[in-house]
């Protein structure tokens, strides 16, 4: 574990990408093969099954540190990370030894079979055998969510350097449903057999946000446009008579959307389609909130299937007749996709994302303005001759979202952030006027600069009216422009609305609190866009 802890420290101690890649490439060339595989697994979001609950870990850590549990509970949100809080709070370790990462993961996995007193004894023993950084890493292995400031893209780059295998090739090998328990470094990375895994998706290509408008993109004829749909990006893999639906986060969603299973009847095996899963009825998308009800459910009750039926809005064709066609130009892939979709009957839950025709950039700008009316959140621009790349890369695909909806609201409550923002006020509640009363309607956490967060933090400290635990009611004095992507009726909220992606777009120093928007403005927006 010392080698892995040292890697963690090196990655944590620099903000420079090249140094991170250097450290990781060295590790991936030198560490034992089992440890390499686990490291790749952890950095691509695969982790050992959870064998101890967070509740028990807190209890045991507080006990070992000799502090009351409430004090641990108060410290945790300030640190912002359970594994780190435990590592900081434990007394210095008496013993040291050096076992491999794989050994400790084995220890963590072995816990599941043990009764609770035995698990407790093993955990306390492990904490005694590890130093501070190793303890943090160990706790992370248990609690999951391992992030080391290294994206999968960087990890793939480092692995490419360590093995001499090309990055896109590696990215594909790393996709899909593997775990270190079911494969080995040699099998997965070195002796890769592409036919071994029928379910394997391709790495998603992600678009960059177009901030300055499309004029700089050159000749409009080189580009193809379609709507940017607001659903769940997904890739459907049809091979060997089976189908697999993957999310962008490489999660298998096949069972969550059983109505897509019929696509096996209409689309031949050896096909992979990139698209968006949308809740859909009567030729138009349903609000995202409907689809949201289906996220996170492993199985779907019949009522939900009726209320929020889904389709796949097809964007691109990645594999056709068992051939990887990603290198072919977008226009060709899309033409093939169009033929495929139109061959399916109209009741099939499959649509081709319609092209948005435009003669010049001004026409596209108008189409973008109208996107919200089509139930979309903007337009996508794709270069006609571009291959299907992997990851987020600039140049060939751009998303151009509609301007957000905005309201001016009064800051009424503030709460300190945690983790990176532990000593700043960053979590705010905003209100609109209803007569002389302020009605809270949304929270927002982001959008201000560090300097603005520092200023508002200083202001909050001096203008607190009342405290409710960690929440402070502040003088209703400051107005912020709140931007959001959508608005929905919500019986759970006092104001009767819920916003999508609310954030602080601007601090309106120029506006007195009395001039902020009203509840009736909010209701008008709900009527117009809800």
């Amino acid at each position: 574990m010392k080698r892995f802890a040292a890697l963690f420290t090196r990655l944590d101690q620099t903000t420079k990408i090249n140094r991170k890649v250097d450290a990781l490439a060295e590790y991936l060339a030198e560490a034992p093969e089992d440890d390499r595989l686990w490291t790749i697994a952890l950095l691509s979001g695969r982790r050992p099954k959870r064998t101890v609950t967070a509740t028990l870990l807190r209890l045991w850590a507080a006990e070992r540190a000799g502090i009351p549990l409430w004090l641990f509970e108060e410290s945790y949100p300030i640190v912002g990370d359970l594994a780190e809080t435990i590592a900081l709070i434990l007394p210095p370790a008496p013993a040291r030894e050096n076992r491999s990462l794989t050994y400790w993961i084995g220890e963590v996995r072995a816990l599941s079979a043990l009764p609770e007193p035995e698990r407790r004894a093993r955990i306390l023993d492990a904490w005694d055998r590890l130093d501070r950084v190793e303890r943090f890493v160990f706790n992370k292995l248990i609690t999951g969510g391992f992030r080391m400031g290294v994206s999968q893209k960087l990890m793939t780059r480092a692995l490419s350097r360590a093995t001499g295998i090309d990055e896109p090739d590696l990215a594909h090998r790393l996709m899909g449903d593997w775990s270190p328990e079911t494969t080995s470094f040699r099998r997965l990375i070195l002796d890769h057999d592409p036919s071994a895994d029928l379910s394997k998706p391709y790495p998603f290509y992600l678009a960059y946000q177009l901030d300055d408008g499309p004029e700089g993109l050159g000749d409009p004829d080189l580009w193809s446009a379609e709507h940017k749909w607001d659903g769940i990006r997904g890739q459907i893999v049809l091979r060997g008579g089976e189908h697999f639906l993957w999310s962008r986060g490489e999660e298998l969603m096949t069972d969550r959307f059983p109505e897509l299973a019929v696509l096996k009847d209409y689309v031949p095996p050896g096909t992979v389609i990139d698209g968006e899963v949308l809740a859909w009825a009567d030729g138009a998308p349903l609000p995202f909130a409907r689809l949201q009800k289906r996220i996170g459910r492993k199985t779907v009750p019949k009522t939900l299937l009726r209320e929020a039926p889904v389709i796949l809005m097809a964007y691109d064709l990645l594999e056709w007749q068992s051939e990887d066609i990603r290198p072919r130009p977008f226009a060709e892939r899309r033409a093939e996709l169009g033929r495929l979709v139109s061959a399916a009957p109209p009741e099939a839950p499959l649509r081709l994302s319609p092209a948005v025709p435009f003669a010049d950039w001004a026409a596209l700008a108008r189409a973008r303005e109208a996107a919200r009316d089509a139930g979309a959140e903007g337009v996508m621009l794709k270069r006609r001759d571009s291959p299907y790349r992997d990851g987020r890369r600039k140049g060939d695909w751009w998303k151009w979202k509609v301007d957000p909806l905005t309201l001016d609201a009064v800051l009424v409550y503030a709460q300190q952030g945690h983790g990176r923002r532990a000593n700043l006020f960053t979590d705010f509640t905003f209100a609109v006027w209803s007569g002389n009363e302020l009605v809270p309607f949304t929270k927002a956490y982001s959008g201000l600069t560090d300097e603005e967060f520092r200023r508002i933090t200083a202001w909050v400290r001096r203008n607190t009216l009342e405290r409710y635990g960690p929440v402070r009611a502040v003088k209703p004095e400051h107005v912020f422009e709140i931007a959001f992507e959508g608005i929905q009726a919500s019986p759970r909220h006092k104001s009767g609305v819920a916003l999508r992606f609310p954030r602080m777009a601007r601090w309106r120093h120029d506006k007195p609190a009395q001039e902020a928007n009203t509840l009736s403005d909010l209701k008008e927006m709900l009527a117009a866009y809800g």
Binding site: T15, W70, I78, V79, G419, D450, A458, R461
Partner: protein, 351 residues
């Protein structure tokens, strides 16, 4: 019944009988000052009283002020109230202020740390009935490693950067932290360059007899390339500015107690965070409070409500007092150059 010995007003901690305030945050006639940091020594008071060692920095920062000085341990009587200053170990010249009336003793801690840093007069516990204490780092997740170990880490970082020909840029408070780093590192590793705000404080402290290694002030004319592999001591707010960019691809770091939290380290996006604080850690706060023998403890700035509850469970009569003090903040503007945020608002406020 007479008025309480000390009470809190909107101007600061006030001694009604003595007719003075301690570290007031709004202008008063007579201010007793624990130390020269901007949130404790503010401009605009009628008269000031501070330790001899704190006076030069205060004069440097506040200009022409009516300032009297006192030696550590010297007993003064102000309107019948007994007053004395005792080392707080926070920065050179920093003090706790002891106030007594007819045998009733209160101590105001100001900011303090219990580990000797080799530069500040070491903290001395003062017996009292009521202790008014800071608790900037009043959570059990804050436990400092001994200073020599942290200094060893800074040396190793500097040495490795110097070997690669890179500058090592370290953000540290201009008063206290910067000099502590200076006196703790191995000055033989390479040249030490200083930001103007740091060097101004160095000048003041050197004149009063503190021994610091040689440093080179960074001026617009200075050829930074003539000093490869230097340690550059800057104020925290200077990092990431055009001032910092002239040193090329430097490795960056902060020295602060907040660096104990990985999240804060990442937010500041420095390469390294050295956990070095001029405030007491959790064991330090608890030991200091025990050593006063006080039954009543008033907590001022930091994680006040949590720390108060902890003290109450330990059997103290503990309360939170809202003050205008701020403790260690990575997000404050340059400390040595005044504590205003530019709008005339005092940064920090009632924490």
């Amino acid at each position: 019944m007479s008025a309480p010995l000390l009470t809190v007003t909107d101007r600061g901690i006030c001694c009604p009988d003595g007719g003075f305030h301690i570290d007031p945050w709004r202008p008063v006639d007579r201010a007793l000052i624990t130390h020269g940091h901007a949130d404790h020594a503010r401009p605009g008071h009628g008269s000031y009283l501070a330790t001899r060692a704190a006076a030069p920095v205060m004069r440097h920062r506040l200009g022409e002020i009516d300032l009297q000085t006192v030696a550590y341990g010297e007993r003064l009587t102000i309107n019948g109230i007994e007053v004395s200053y005792h080392p707080a170990g926070h920065v050179p010249g920093s003090a706790q202020i002891r106030v007594a009336r007819r045998g009733e003793v209160w101590v105001v801690s100001g900011d303090y740390k219990v580990e000797p840093d080799g530069l500040s007069e070491p903290f001395q516990p003062v017996r009292c009935h009521t202790f008014i204490t800071e608790c900037t780092f009043g959570l059990p997740v804050f436990t400092w490693r001994p200073q020599p170990e942290v200094a060893g880490d800074i040396d190793a970082w500097w040495r490795a950067n110097a070997a690669e020909g890179r500058a090592s840029m370290l953000g540290a408070y201009a008063l206290g932290k910067a000099q502590r780093v200076l006196s703790a590192v191995d000055a033989g590793i390479g040249p030490i360059l200083t930001h103007g705000a740091v060097e101004n404080t160095n000048d003041v402290l050197r004149r009063q007899g503190l021994s610091l290694p040689n440093t080179i002030r960074v001026t617009p004319e200075l050829d930074v390339k003539a000093h490869p592999g230097a340690l550059v001591l800057a104020t925290p707010s200077a990092l990431g500015t055009p001032w910092a960019r002239r040193f090329g691809p430097a490795s960056t770091a902060f020295a602060s107690g907040w660096m104990a939290l990985r999240g804060v380290r990442r937010r500041r996006a420095a390469d390294r965070g050295f956990v070095l604080s001029d405030h007491a850690d959790w064991p330090g706060l608890n030991a200091a409070i025990r050593a006063t023998g006080a039954e009543r403890v008033l907590v001022t700035h930091g994680y006040t409500s949590i720390f108060r509850r902890w003290l109450a469970e330990q059997g103290y009569d503990a309360h939170v007092v809202e003050t205008g003090w701020e403790g260690e903040s990575l997000d404050a503007p340059d400390d040595a150059e005044g504590g205003d945020d530019g709008d005339g608002n005092v940064v920090g406020g009632a924490a």
